[in-house]
Each structure stands twice: as structure tokens, then as C-alpha cells.
């Protein structure tokens, strides 16, 4: 599936929720099911600090494809981290760099990506794209 197709799938899933509580219950569930990042990457070197919550992010590059793993100390943040990984992980650096992240708006989670939230997510997307750029230039 392309990034756009995964995004469509996520948007379709979120359209089923009737109210905010269902949506957040789903995010909490996703937060709990996120494969935990390898402990060796849960250090200050990999941390993206917000004043509200922390995100740890690592990326691997195998045969032209980028794989992300991440964690957060807050479950809702972790749920959104999981969504971002589901959308961007397993794609080529070019696809990741070209990816439009508008789907966040469509599923009504834009407030969490606002820089004022300081939960590390805005910087996380930037960091994911930076990884892609670094891998691309490495070839």
C-alpha cells in the first residue's frame, strides 16, 4: 500500500467513531499496542522532548525502505505515534519526504500536532522526514 492508501484507511477507520470518547479510547488502545522501542534507543540521544510528554524515535534503513520504531511516556501521544509509524514506516525515503500529513486534520487530531502542545509530535514528524532525507542522501 502507498502512504496515501494507508492514510485513507486510517481516515475510514476514524470516520466510524461517533464521539470523541470512542476516538480517544481507540488511540489509547493503539498506544498500548505499539511495539515498544528497543530499550537501547530509549535514551536522551533519541528523545524528542516536549514540555508535556516525551517521544523516543529510531529509524532503520533496509533495502531502500525506512522502518521507524518509537515510544512515548504518555499513552495518547503513543497512540498518535503509532498512527504516524503505521503511515510512514515501510516506505522509501522519497515517499516519506513527499508525504502530505493532512490526514491528521481529517481525523480531527490536528490539535495534538500543534507546536503549542509541546508533546513532541510536531518534532517527531520533522524528525521522521529528516531520517528519510539522511537515508536518501546515503543512497
Amino acid at each position: 500500500m502507498t502512504i496515501a492508501e494507508v492514510q485513507e484507511q486510517v481516515v475510514a477507520e476514524f470516520s466510524l467513531f461517533e464521539d470523541w470518547m470512542d476516538k480517544y479510547n481507540y488511540l489509547i488502545e493503539m498506544g498500548r499496542s505499539l511495539p515498544v522501542i528497543d530499550e537501547q534507543y530509549k535514551t536522551d540521544q533519541f528523545v524528542i522532548s516536549g514540555c508535556q510528554s516525551k517521544v523516543w524515535l529510531n529509524a532503520k534503513y533496509l533495502e531502500g525502505v525506512v522502518y521507524f520504531s518509537a515510544d512515548s511516556d504518555a499513552i495518547i501521544t503513543k497512540g498518535i505515534v503509532n498512527l504516524l509509524i503505521r503511515v510512514l514506516s515501510g516506505h522509501s525515503p522519497d515517499e516519506i519526504l513527499d508525504a502530505d500529513m493532512d490526514f491528521i486534520d481529517q481525523i480531527g487530531l490536528r490539535e495534538h500536532l500543534s507546536p503549542t502542545r509541546s508533546n513532541g509530535l510536531t518534532s517527531m514528524i520533522k524528525q521522521m522526514k529528516l531520517y528519510a532525507l539522511a537515508f536518501k542522501s546515503r543512497g
Binding site: 480517544y24 489509547i28 514540555c51 511516556d73 495518547i76 508533546n119
Partner: protein, 407 residues
């Protein structure tokens, strides 16, 4: 409950009368900024409708009128905080600028390599970082008063810290995270036996306790308008004349000068020496009315009512069982920081927000304090005199929802 006229008061705060996410707004983030009564809002728009102009400069009618209000407000603040002279009242942008002014100007004049400056571990970053930077610049040492588990200062440690190398002590009157009311009078008395001046950060106390700088005998006192029902961008620095006179200017420009020649500049007298540039006149108009507003309600009445809110909230949260209250000092203002079981404050804050309740989550610009408690953040509810026990019940309901969702 006392007969505090909260229903009438709420009518003065139009912002409170709205719904967010389809629920009535409950505003419990008053320690970050208070709402403004309609009287203050009208004072600001009134200023622009009839009085707007630059002050202290024109001989024309509008300038004279606005200058008069501006300077009358300075006198009103002198009386409000019981300062000896209105020359000791400097208008600033807020507490942060007031503290930066003192750290910079006092530091240049009085602090030398090997000297010491004392702050506490519970300071807001704005009463911590300016001193840390000044100490680095001046080659001085920053010493930190520790606290005990309840969130009260370790006064024995403080006494042991004061010596002939100490050049200034900067201490918050009330902690923005814990609500602790510090024994600043005792600190000042002790410091003065060594001849050391004390700066009191009044940002969190002014709207709850008022201030009496004569009774405290503090040497500097700082507060912000926006945390006491006045607009943002206006604040006050009180300083004893003997220090303000000796300190060099902080910023330079118009208004603060006496004479400017190609060969050099002489500076204006107090308070203008520290008020460079066009000031925030609309802010002063708003501050004037905000002070009158709280004086009419009466500081005593406000304190009694807010204590009832605090006691009610503390009782309700304690009864929930797995709530950890951070800050259990005997003397507190109406502020309560807490953790819900092992739930991350950000998670709690997101859900509480969706329930229409504005609380603050995060480190509250007091990272050294949270490091001391070894916690990343807290949820903080801070009450003002327009809040009600019914609103606290709504918060309790929201916390139950949080527990249900994350439990």
C-alpha cells in the same frame, strides 16, 4: 460556604459564560492567567476610544490626560502595595521583566566573582534562569534552598546558606506548582541581619494575598497584571529607592534620559530611569481598574472564599483514593497540583480538556522542582474568586472519566 457573591461576580466575566466541546467552560488555569472583568475590558477599549496618545511627551490635551491617568495609577499601586513612594514603582511588561531588570542591573552594580546569590528549588524559571545567567556572567555562585516533602522550604538549610558572600536572595512568595505560601517575612528578617536585600516574586501571591511591602520589608517585589485580572504585558517592579538609585539603567532609549549629547548621556530620575521607550499605557489603564475591582471585593473576602474552594477541592480529591497531591504545605493559596494514579498528566489533561475543563498539565516552568519530586509533570487546577464548588464537582467527574479510560 460564606456569602461571597460569586453569582454576581461571574456576570462581570463574560468569557466564563460559554461552552467548549458542548459543555460549560470551567476555567481552572488561573495561576497561568486570570480572566478579565468587563470593567477592565471597557477601560482598555475606552482608552483607545477617547484617550490614546503618547504620554509624558505632549503638551496637548490628550497627552496630559493620559499621562495623568498613568501617573495616578502609579500612586494607586504605591498605596495598594504600601510602598513608601511612587518613585519606587516601575512599570514593566510583567514579573519576568521585573526580575530580569533586577538581576541585570543589581548584578552589574553589586555582584562580583566569588559572591553568592540564593534562590529556592521551587522557583518558576523566570525567578531562576535570570539569576543563573547573572551568576555565570559575574562569576558568582547560585545557591539553592531545598524543600521538604510537603513542599515547604527547608528553613534550616536556608539559614545555613546565608553568609557575608551572599549578595541577594530571590524567593517566590507562593509556588506556582505547589501553592505553598513561603515565610518570606522570616526570610527577609534573617537576610537583613546580614544586610542582604531580598527580592520577592509576587506573581502567584498578589491576587490571593495582596502585598504589603512595608510590612514585609522586602527590597524588591515583582508582579504581573495578567495574573490579577488586568491585561497582559503590564507588570510592576517595586524597589527600595536606595537600591534603584544606585543601580544602572536596564534598557536605554527615550524617556529614561535627562540629556543626550554626542559626548555622553545623563539619565532621568526614578522611576523613569527604568522605563525606556513608549510604555504600555492601555495596560496601565486596565491595571488601574483591576486593582479597584479586587479592592472593592476586599482581599480578606477573596482569601476566605478561595480557601473554601481549596479545602473543598482537597477534600474531594483526597476522597478519590488514588490521587497524589503534590504540595501539602500548611499554608497554601487556592492551587492544587496532583497526579491520578500512574496516569501521565498529558493523558489526563487531554481528557479533562474534552470535558470542558481548563487545567494545566506539564512542568509549569519549574523543572528543577519537578526533578526534585522525580516526576515529569503534574495536573494543576488553580482557582480564582469566580470559581465555584459546582465546578470542582465537574472536575471530579472528569477525573473519574480519566480513570475509567486509562484504568
Amino acid at each position: 460556604m460564606t456569602n461571597f457573591p460569586v453569582d454576581l461576580i461571574r456576570k462581570d466575566f463574560p468569557i466564563l459564560n460559554q461552552t467548549v466541546y458542548g459543555r460549560p467552560l470551567v476555567y481552572f488555569d488561573n495561576a497561568a492567567s486570570t480572566q478579565k472583568p468587563v470593567q477592565v475590558i471597557r477601560a482598555i477599549s475606552g482608552y483607545y476610544e477617547t484617550d490614546n496618545c503618547n504620554i509624558h511627551r505632549g503638551v496637548h490635551y490628550l497627552s496630559q490626560r493620559a499621562t495623568e491617568v498613568y501617573e495616578d495609577t502609579r500612586k494607586q499601586i504605591r498605596q495598594f502595595i504600601n510602598a513608601a513612594s511612587s518613585q519606587e514603582i516601575i512599570f514593566t511588561r510583567g514579573t519576568t521583566e521585573s526580575i530580569n531588570l533586577v538581576a541585570s542591573s543589581y548584578g552589574k552594580q553589586y555582584v562580583n566573582p566569588g559572591d553568592e546569590v540564593i534562590v529556592s528549588v521551587m522557583e518558576h524559571h523566570s525567578n531562576f534562569v535570570p539569576w543563573q545567567l547573572m551568576c555565570q556572567e559575574r562569576g558568582a555562585k547560585l545557591r539553592i534552598i531545598p524543600i521538604v516533602e510537603s513542599g515547604e522550604l527547608d528553613m534550616n538549610a536556608f539559614r545555613g546558606m546565608v553568609n557575608e558572600r551572599t549578595k541577594i536572595i530571590a524567593i517566590t512568595h507562593v509556588s506556582n506548582v505547589l501553592g505553598t505560601i513561603n515565610p518570606v517575612k522570616e526570610i527577609i528578617q534573617h537576610a537583613h541581619t546580614f544586610g542582604i536585600p531580598v527580592l520577592v516574586d509576587g506573581a502567584q501571591s498578589i491576587s490571593h494575598l495582596g502585598a504589603d511591602v512595608k510590612d514585609l520589608d522586602c527590597d524588591f517585589y515583582c508582579f504581573s497584571g495578567h495574573k490579577m485580572y488586568a491585561p497582559m504585558g503590564i507588570g510592576v517592579l517595586y524597589g527600595k529607592e536606595k537600591y534603584l538609585d544606585a543601580m544602572p539603567p536596564y534598557q536605554s532609549g527615550g524617556e529614561m534620559i535627562k540629556e543626550v549629547h554626542l559626548s555622553g548621556t545623563t539619565f532621568n530620575d526614578l522611576p523613569f530611569k527604568f522605563e525606556a521607550g513608549t510604555p504600555n499605557v492601555e495596560g496601565v489603564y486596565g491595571l488601574r481598574v483591576a486593582i479597584s475591582y479586587i479592592q472593592e471585593l476586599g482581599m480578606e473576602n477573596i482569601a476566605v472564599y478561595e480557601k473554601e474552594l481549596l479545602d473543598y477541592a482537597t477534600e474531594k480529591l483526597t476522597a478519590m483514593g488514588d490521587i497524589r497531591i503534590i504540595g501539602t504545605a500548611k499554608e497554601k493559596t487556592s492551587l492544587i497540583s496532583f497526579l491520578i494514579g500512574s496516569i501521565h498528566p498529558y493523558d489526563a489533561g487531554v481528557i479533562i480538556d474534552k470535558m470542558g475543563i481548563a487545567v494545566r498539565t506539564g512542568h509549569h516552568c519549574a523543572m528543577p522542582l519537578l526533578e526534585w519530586y522525580k516526576i515529569p509533570a503534574t495536573v494543576r487546577a488553580s482557582f480564582a474568586f469566580y470559581n465555584t464548588t459546582e465546578e470542582i464537582d465537574l472536575m471530579v467527574e472528569a477525573i473519574l472519566k480519566v480513570k475509567q479510560m486509562f484504568g
